[in-house]
């Protein structure tokens, strides 16, 4: 039980990122506000973390007496978090119109939240999970409220915070119940207990699981725990929104897959039933509510709710003992979702001019003629989000719905696919506004930056390329998911 206690390599990537966060925080004290050194330093640190992550690919390590376990699964998520953070930073960096709009804490907050996520992804114990979750969440609360001049920003942050704390309480209460029922907080032991007892697990454990689902469902914004999401997404500075929509969500799913795709998988019935409902409601509410949104960030918030629905669809009833499809699908979909969402937010950041001045549909009119490249990139991301080939979004959706069909939840898949038609409507409305409507507002100039252009280009190409040749990513995702066993 103690064999992994001293395994430093198991925590190496996390430590690198943690160190980055601390260093950035310290350095920020000594440079003048708005200095470019800080963000670049952050990027370097994160890249180092990424390098370590990649270097460790293929290894499996246990630390902290088995409360911490890394393998392909964790490393996969590490890479995802770090890449999302780097892209977010790049976008922020190149479009920070007024220097110092993003205070020095911003960079370290992002990095700290990445640390939290990494902890979540490596958690093999409820305690570890909760530590990671709270680290990540607290950073996120603050980041949402960074727009100190905008009353909406702090309102959104407060809502996010209050509900987050509320949900955390549920999650913790659930953890307490689980602990009380099984007398351990180790995932592996809880899983073994559940597997041994089958459907007749104690009621307290059921309740614990459900409360845990509530807490994690809140983090990923599954209906009906999604209410904070549109407000917080709209309130937050656009780069933060992008980060929250991708990395935070991915971290939530890192935990959900572990707990509900694995630990609670064989307790099947009840949990699956609940997740079924979560998936259904998320797809319906997310897609339908998005139709009404004229604010793009809000629209993308609801769309992210819908995507959570698709992701949950893959988890429903997917028994990893039978098929890896569900888990693999989630991992793949998270990557695809991250790429296209970051891309979309990237476009918003660029046209927002760093000040979030333009974030409604109308602001997009005439973009195609003013800036064809940007419009094309946005089109690619929207097509991908709609799940139309040849984009990664299509393959992701194909795969997660495939998982649902495979586990016999064809009905859910059908409903999901029908709601995604609604999705097509609002995603394509973006295209309509960019290409088919005359510019309604005089288009304010925005700063182009080579960095963001390249980043956007890379994202767009990746979305297409991985849509046509998804095999490599698919193998990675499969290996990652497999490493959980």
């Amino acid at each position: 039980m103690f064999e992994g206690l001293y395994s430093w390599s198991a925590v190496a990537p996390t430590l690198v990122v943690l160190a980055t966060a601390l260093i950035v925080m310290l350095v920020d004290l000594f440079v003048k506000p708005g200095s470019r050194i800080v963000p670049w330093l952050t990027i370097v640190g994160l890249l180092a973390g990424l390098a370590v992550t990649i270097g460790m690919w293929g290894t499996e390590e246990v630390a902290f007496s088995g409360a911490w376990k890394i393998g392909a699964y964790s490393l996969f998520f590490y890479a995802l978090f770090i890449v999302a953070a780097i892209i977010t930073i790049l976008f922020t960096l190149s479009h920070e119109q007024r220097r110092g709009r993003f205070p020095g804490e911003y960079w370290s907050l992002i990095t700290f939240s990445v640390v939290g996520m990494m902890v979540m992804a490596s958690a093999a114990d409820l305690i570890t999970l909760i530590i990671g979750l709270e680290t990540m969440s607290l950073c996120a609360y603050v980041m949402v409220g960074l727009n100190r001049n905008d009353p909406r920003s702090s309102e959104g942050a407060l809502k996010y915070f209050l509900l987050g704390a509320f949900a955390s309480a549920f999650l913790l209460y659930g953890a307490a119940f689980i602990y009380g029922s099984v007398v351990t907080t180790r995932f592996s032991e809880i899983g073994a207990f559940i597997a041994a007892h089958g459907d007749s697990i104690p009621f307290t454990l059921q309740v614990g699981g459900i409360l845990l689902l509530v807490g994690l469902g809140f983090k990923v914004a599954a209906v009906p725990f999604h209410m904070w999401a549109p407000d917080a997404y709209q309130a937050a500075p656009t780069p933060v929104t992008g980060f929250m929509a991708t990395a935070v969500k991915a971290a939530g799913f890192a935990a959900i897959v572990k707990i509900f795709g694995l630990v609670f998988a064989s307790s099947a019935v009840v949990m699956q039933d609940l997740i079924w409902w979560l998936a259904l409601l998320s797809m319906i509410v997310g897609n339908f509510a998005a139709v009404m949104q004229m604010n793009l960030k809000r629209m993308l918030a609801y769309s992210s709710v819908a995507h959570v629905g698709y992701l949950l669809t893959a988890i429903v009833g997917s028994d990893p003992g039978v098929s890896l499809q569900g888990g693999t699908g989630v991992l793949f979909y998270l990557v695809s979702y991250t790429l296209m969402t970051l891309g979309a937010f990237g476009v918003l950041i660029i046209i927002g001019g760093g000040e979030d001045r333009r974030e409604t549909l109308v602001d997009l009119t005439g973009l195609a003629s003013k800036s064809p490249g940007l419009a094309l990139a946005m089109t690619i991301f929207m097509v991908s989000m709609s799940g139309i080939p040849p984009t990664i979004g299509f393959f992701g959706k194909f795969y997660v719905f495939g998982a649902a069909v495979q586990s016999g939840y064809t009905g859910l898949a059908v409903i999901g696919i029908l709601t995604s038609v609604v999705g097509v409507f609002y995603y394509f409305r973006v295209v309509v506004n960019m290409y088919m409507k005359p510019a309604e507002k005089s288009f304010l100039p925005y700063r182009r930056s080579r960095i963001s252009d390249i980043t956007l280009g890379v994202l767009a190409v990746a979305v297409i390329y991985l849509g046509i040749f998804p095999q490599s990513l698919l193998s990675l995702a499969r290996n990652a998911f497999q490493s959980l066993f």
Partner: protein
């Protein structure tokens, strides 16, 4: 001979290609003559082909020339092939012969028209299609020609397309024809389903094995084919297009709407005679429809003032006669009348064209009169044609019409009632044609002062004269046996129409009857029919032989009936009321209500529902953190509850 047969088709086609390429560039004369000569060459080829065919040992029924395989897929094999037998021989000779004359005539008639080249191109195309129709060895080939002539008819009726009436008339002709065609196609499909082929000879050959005489299959199929024929041959109830078709140039009326195309229906029934004869019910229907059409069209014809309209209704009426013959089972006689009709009716139209030409495009007979002296050649030829039409002895029409009336009574499928109907129509024929002659030529001149009628140029009158000769003597090839003739044409065609083959017993019986006692009947009927024609003449003379501006005798005598006749018995109005208007209303309704409101409304409604739902769902997002927390807690509670319930159950 096969080469000659191919050439028959090729020459008009050359004419078409020539017309398409040079029609607008070369001078009128060249275009007109080359086009005409193409048809003339086709005529020569036809003569060669037919004489070649006649020279054959009569072991085989006809000559088949396969051009190429048209459709071959699955069980469907249709060759593009020609079939020359007695029936098609007669037809190609008539089509190319009369066609040639009318082409030549047109050179004069169409002189100066801006669409001169177009006219000849289409006339050539028509000739080609008509030849294909009569030469096709399968119903599919026949149908290609059938629709082809329909197309040309459409184009030529609407030749002066800038006139709304012409453009409308063309469209009407095509659509009404299509109604018949639809039935024709249905019949063809049924035949294919039963026989696995559309080759006419094969069908005829197999029909005794497939059909039972009087069976419902053969009846239905023949009825369908007959409906097709009524469309093309303008029989009630589909006759309404032909009078309107007079909007076309007069040579078109002569060639297409008198001599050739409209007789395609007659040809079709005769061609499929062996099948029709197995369906007595159908034949009765054919005869009745024919007789009825003959009478109705005759009545309408009497009351028309437009010279071409009179002739048009006369054509409808005469086609009715032909169908009467067919219905009586005397297919050969029907074809015989077809041939003589081609001569005299073509001539009448050309004559009318000459008159119209002379009258500076006036067609109203009330403004004519006394043209006998102004247009001597036209007058003479038209009188000959008129006499032939009325059935005055020893003109061509006399022989054929007399035969028809006789067969209507005594034919294989004849009945005295048919004769009575035919007799009535014969009287009407006399009335309208002599009325026409009186009003146009014989009465006092009512020509407006600003018009100075003059005889047409040679290029027009020569064809008139040639046709006049044919109209006068053409009937002698069918001189009945009782008059000492050989009834050569009847026998000749009879072998092809199948009356001889299948109705062998019937024909034999008939022959016997004709030999004994039957001959007496024929003579009696013949005399009666002459009397009928003369009665018609007498009536026309009573009414129109006066020296009055425009005598209105019948108008005053039977005003109600006259008005109905004048208004063509309101067929058009009736159809518009019961078919046209409802259909239009229905279509409008389908579009404006059903398509836009119901179907598209459902589609857009789905969008609306989505929107409403979306508004509703987005409305849940009230912005109040307490409500959010409630949703969260409520969700958790429900979940826990369900969890409990599920774990218990």
């Amino acid at each position: 001979m096969t080469t000659a047969l191919k050439l028959v088709l090729l020459f008009p086609l050359i004419g078409v290609v020539f017309g398409l390429t040079f029609g607008r560039r070369l001078p009128e004369k060249v275009v007109g003559w080359i086009s005409s000569l193409c048809v003339g060459a086709a005529f020569v080829s036809a003569v060669i082909a037919v004489s070649g065919f006649l020279g054959l040992e009569h072991g085989e029924a006809g000559v088949s020339v396969v051009l190429f395989e048209w459709i071959a897929t699955g069980p469907v094999h249709i060759d593009a092939a020609l079939w020359l037998d007695q029936l098609s021989s007669v037809m190609i000779l008539v089509v190319t012969g009369v066609g040639f004359l009318i082409h030549v005539y047109s050179i004069g008639y169409m002189h100066g028209d801006w669409g001169f080249g177009r006219f000849f191109t289409w006339m050539n195309l028509f000739t080609f299609a008509m030849l294909l129709l009569v030469l096709g060895d399968s119903l599919a080939m026949l149908f290609i020609g059938w629709e082809g002539v329909g197309l040309c008819s459409y184009l030529l009726i609407g030749f002066w397309f800038e006139k709304d009436s012409a453009a409308d008339a063309g469209r009407k002709a095509f659509v009404v024809n299509r109604i018949g065609d639809a039935a024709f196609i249905s019949g063809m499909l049924a035949l294919f389903a039963l026989f696995g082929t559309l080759n006419i000879q094969e069908i005829i050959h197999l029909s005794p094995e497939v059909f039972a005489v009087g069976g419902s299959a053969v009846t239905i199929i023949t009825l369908l084919l007959f409906v097709g024929a009524t469309g093309k041959s303008a029989q009630i109830p589909l006759h309404i297009w032909l009078p309107d078709a007079m909007e076309g140039p007069t040579p078109v009326s002569a060639l297409i709407h008198a001599a050739t195309m409209v007789t395609a229906g007659v040809y079709l029934v005769a061609r499929m005679g062996s099948i029709f004869i197995m369906a007595p019910t159908t034949l009765a229907v054919v005869a009745l429809v024919g007789a009825l059409t003959a009478i109705v069209a005759g009545l309408i014809g009497i009351a028309q003032h437009d010279i071409k309209k009179v002739l048009a209704y006369s054509t409808v009426s005469q086609l009715g006669f032909m169908f009467l013959a067919l219905g009586a089972g005397a297919f050969a006689v029907g074809i015989f009348h077809l041939m003589t009709h081609a001569f005299f009716k073509g001539l009448l139209f050309l004559g009318a064209g000459s008159v119209i030409h002379a009258m500076s495009d006036k067609q109203d007979m009330r403004e004519m009169g006394g043209l006998r002296k102004k247009l001597p050649i036209t007058h003479a030829t038209m009188v000959i044609a008129g006499l032939a039409l009325a059935g005055i002895p020893f003109f061509s029409g006399f022989f054929s019409k007399d035969e028809i009336l006789y067969e209507a009574w005594a034919g294989p499928n004849g009945h005295p009632l048919f004769w009575v109907l035919g007799a009535i129509a014969a009287v009407l024929t006399g009335i309208y044609i002599f009325r026409l002659l009186y009003l146009t030529f014989w009465s006092k001149s009512r020509v407006p002062d600003d018009i100075h009628p003059h005889e047409s140029p040679k290029v027009m009158t020569v064809p008139l004269m040639i046709l006049a000769v044919l109209a006068a003597v053409g009937g002698f090839i069918g001189l009945p046996k009782v008059l000492g003739g050989g009834a050569w044409i009847q026998d000749f065609i009879g072998t092809a129409t199948g009356a001889a083959a299948h109705g062998a017993e019937a024909v034999g019986e008939l022959g016997a009857e004709a030999a004994h006692g039957g001959g007496g009947l024929q003579v009696i009927l013949m005399v009666v029919s002459v009397l009928l024609a003369l009665t018609g003449f007498w009536i026309a003379r009573r009414w129109y032989g006066r020296e009055e501006p425009y005598p209105e005798v019948p108008e005053q005598a039977v005003p109600g009936l006259w008005k109905a006749m004048r208004q063509k018995f309101y067929f058009d109005e009736f159809y518009f009321l019961i078919i046209g208007k409802p259909l239009l209303k229905l279509s409008e309704w389908l579009y404006r209500f059903f398509d836009v409101k119901i179907i598209d409304g459902t589609v857009n409604g789905a969008g609306q529902v989505t929107n409403t739902l979306a508004r509703w769902i987005a409305g849940l997002q009230v912005g109040h953190v307490g409500i959010y927390a409630l949703a969260l807690a409520g969700g958790a509670a429900i979940r826990t509850e369900t969890g409990k319930g599920l774990s218990n159950g």
